[in-house]
Amino acid sequence: MTNLRIAIIDDDSIFRFIFSKMVKKFPDVHTEVIGFEDGLQALNYFQANKEKSETWPDMLFVDINMPQMTGWEFMDEVCRLELDYVKNIPVFILSSSTSLADIEKINEYHFIDDYLVKPLKKTSFMELLHQYHHKTARVIKKPE
């Protein structure tokens, strides 16, 4: 059985709960979800585990609209703190906003893979996990 560790940054605890439940239903894979209430918490974690690659997540999902630090501010901090390994894993924006201004903003961050709109459809989410899980466990991206 392979391992799939997924990190989610979202202040909405109910969504985090549902998200974990969905991930756990991913078949034939041992899944693990690391949840963060906000960007600051996540940054602290990534900073602390910079050298411990065994703790690194395989995929990262980030909400935009959060108190203290927005999803975009989190991305800026990742760049500023040179947390390159975070940029090297598949990163997704996960937001309830369907505003074009938000969707197009991912073009400013080359390491963001896609923009997913809440609510998540179970089938398409499973497909996404499947697709990325079948690529190498660690997707190496070209440096920017």
Partner: protein, 625 residues
Amino acid sequence: MHSAKLQNMWNDALLNNMQRIGKEGVFIVDFEGNIVRANKNALVAFGLDEKIYQGRSCFELFRLSYDEDSTPLDKKELPFSVTLQYGKTIENKLLGVAIEMKPLTWLSVSTQMMPISDLKYVIISFFDVTEIVTKSQKLEKRKNQLDALLASIDDMIFEVSATGVILNCWTNDKDQLFYEPSLFLGKNLEALFPGELGCSFVALIKDSLSQNKSLSMDYQSPVQTNSGLWYRMQARPIYSSKSKVAVIITDITNRMKIEEEVRINEQKFNQAFLHSGLGMALVDTEGHCIDVNKTLIKMLGYDLSEMARMSCCEYTHPDDLLLVEENIKKLKSLESESFTIKKRYIHKEGHYIWCLLTMSTVFNQQGSPVFFIAQVQDITLYSKYVQTLQRNNRQLEIATIDLETKLRQLEEFNQIVAHNLRGPAGNIQMLVAEIEHADNEADRKECLQLLQSSSDGLIAIMEELIEILEVRGSKSLPFEECNFERLYKKTIQQFSAEIYAKSAVIETNFEINAISYSRIYLESILHNLIGNALKYTIPGRKPHIYIRSYVEEGKSCLSVSDNGVGIDLERHGTHIFKFRKTFHTGYDSKGIGLFMTRHQIESLGGRMYVESEPDKGSTFYIQFN
């Protein structure tokens, strides 16, 4: 001897008879030029003594002689010398002779051979013509002067008879005449200029003679090819004659051209003056009108006689007098040639008219001001339009700001709907799906519970949104006199427990006591700001809050300062007044307060901003409308 004696006697008789006949002087000289005989006239003329003249040499007497042109004559050229040499008779030769230091005596000299037996004698007879020569010289001189005079004038001068016959003509430049004088001298003007022009000439000459005064007429050249030339014909009676006039023809083409230009210029000015849409006046240096046009009369209500009588100060607004006087003074002192000012005139009916006055100076040839030209433009309507325009612009600006605010708020609502409303709604959708596919009762129960809290959250947000929408829709909120002190005290009561618990110190300085505002909003604003100041405190630091009302830039303002945790504006500056934004963990906050406060203030046309530093404190500033 007898015959010789007889001859002498005969000679004497002849000489004396001659003397009796006239003033002729006579010498008889021998072949050497020595005087043999002389009559009395000759002796007197040359100042000779009766007794001792015989034997005197005529060459000596005529030693200093000149011909007509005042050229000195040689001995051999003297008339008697010529006669002696060649036997030639000479008649009436004019000779200037210097006699005894006197001015030249002019003599008309005749000489003739007079052989007596075999001896040669010459008889010299002469008249003193000095008087005639001098007169003639004077005439010559006058003629020269006349020529010089003619040379100095450009006119043509004719002597014309009463009937129009040209008798004489003088001109400096013969080309001016166009014809040879021989072609017109002795001819009648009527014949020379057929038709009306000739008749006019003659009529003018006749009138001039009958009225005995100089008359003139201007005419265009009758010659086709010179039709551009203009002449003035002047007939002037000659005082010494009743039947002749002097006709003076002057080329006045240039003068006519200049006069025409002047006439056109005058016409131009007159047309501009009379029919100008501007009020115009010619004003003398004392401020009285010499002339005014209709527009000005209509504008100010006075007629010309009134304006000529009144000084311009009398119909100028007292407050503008100084300005007008100063500027006119500058014109008079030649400091400036013109000025333009805005001033008020007093209409005859008493009301004031705002006008734009331009005044410029007209100078005489000596360069001193003769009068001023005033141009007056009524700008009452213009001023009114400008005021209206400014008012409209202000309204437009306000409307623009209002619209921009609304647009920004709308964008915010879009964000709120996208992020805050779709979030819980999405959760509900996902939870329903979970419940549907739940494979055990425990999961389903858990999901149901979450569904409950999700829908509660959704409703809470909806209620907040409704509250905000009420703020926006409440333009018709009643405004009333809001007393800061009273509202402040009411708010403080609500927070008494917290103030007590944290030993907070609140200081107020209400420089303005009250404003006209929505009381509900002002209560809410104070509640939020004081609530925040009491909430975001630093443990261990005694909260100190300072509330001040004041006037800035003509607007009522309120500020609330605290010494609490502050806000990192560099990080949160753009979100500070947004919906559901919180900046501090560990405090019970939903991020609604500042958003609401801002919306309430903006909905009533005001504005809100903040100054803050982390760990030092914050000051919120409110500028009411």
